[in-house]
Symmetry: C2
Subunit: 119 residues, 2 copies
């Protein structure tokens, strides 16, 4: 169970995140257009705290998982930071809602209704 009381210091290892004004609709849609990445986004949307990659079960290889998280981060959908050895993830909901009002919620609702290709 992730804890909001995690006070481990953020590592200085930098991960690039686009600024809000660099986030593009097409990039966000592309990032969301994958069942694994949608699963990550749904898990983060349903969590009140940031989640480690290991908290979200994807049943894919570590390298493929890392790729999917990177696509989400580089599109501006999630933010990632190191805390100790764990890479923690959270949705950039405020940025997405400001740029594309309603879009994230529409996609989350559609994903909740749609049959998952893995279910």
């Amino acid at each position: 169970m992730p804890s909001s009381a995690n006070t481990a210091p953020t590592s200085s290892r930098a991960l690039h995140h686009p600024d809000r004004d660099e986030i593009r609709l097409e990039g966000v849609l592309h990032a969301l257009a994958d069942p694994m990445r949608l699963r990550v986004v749904r898990a983060l949307a349903g969590s009140s705290t940031e989640l480690a990659c290991g908290d979200i079960e994807l049943a894919i290889s570590k390298s493929t998982s890392t790729h999917h998280y990177r696509v989400l981060r580089e599109a501006g959908v999630i933010s990632q930071c190191y805390r100790g050895t764990a890479k923690m993830n959270s949705l950039r909901r405020a940025d997405l809602d400001a740029l594309f009002p309603g879009l994230l919620d529409c996609v989350l609702r559609a994903a909740a209704r749609a049959p998952s290709p893995n279910s």
Copy 2:
């Protein structure tokens, strides 16, 4: 100007379209995740009639244009049919709205607000 009075018979050349229950959220998002395809969708959404490919200015090669229309059709975003020598296009709005309520409108609004990479 396209005309709704176009009564040319539909060609028998068949173009595959997924049934409504074959349309997948991930496929729709992927189809929308491209500035050229978004431009097509916005043009069709803003038209009360079906549009020929030539009615929508994309400034790209014919083969690339054909590819983009095919991605949209195969994802279930648009329907296409031949009328004489013209391939006519329309949005599958009823199908998309039934499957993913609000999603198309959210994307269209976001696209209208977002700066186009070509503008």
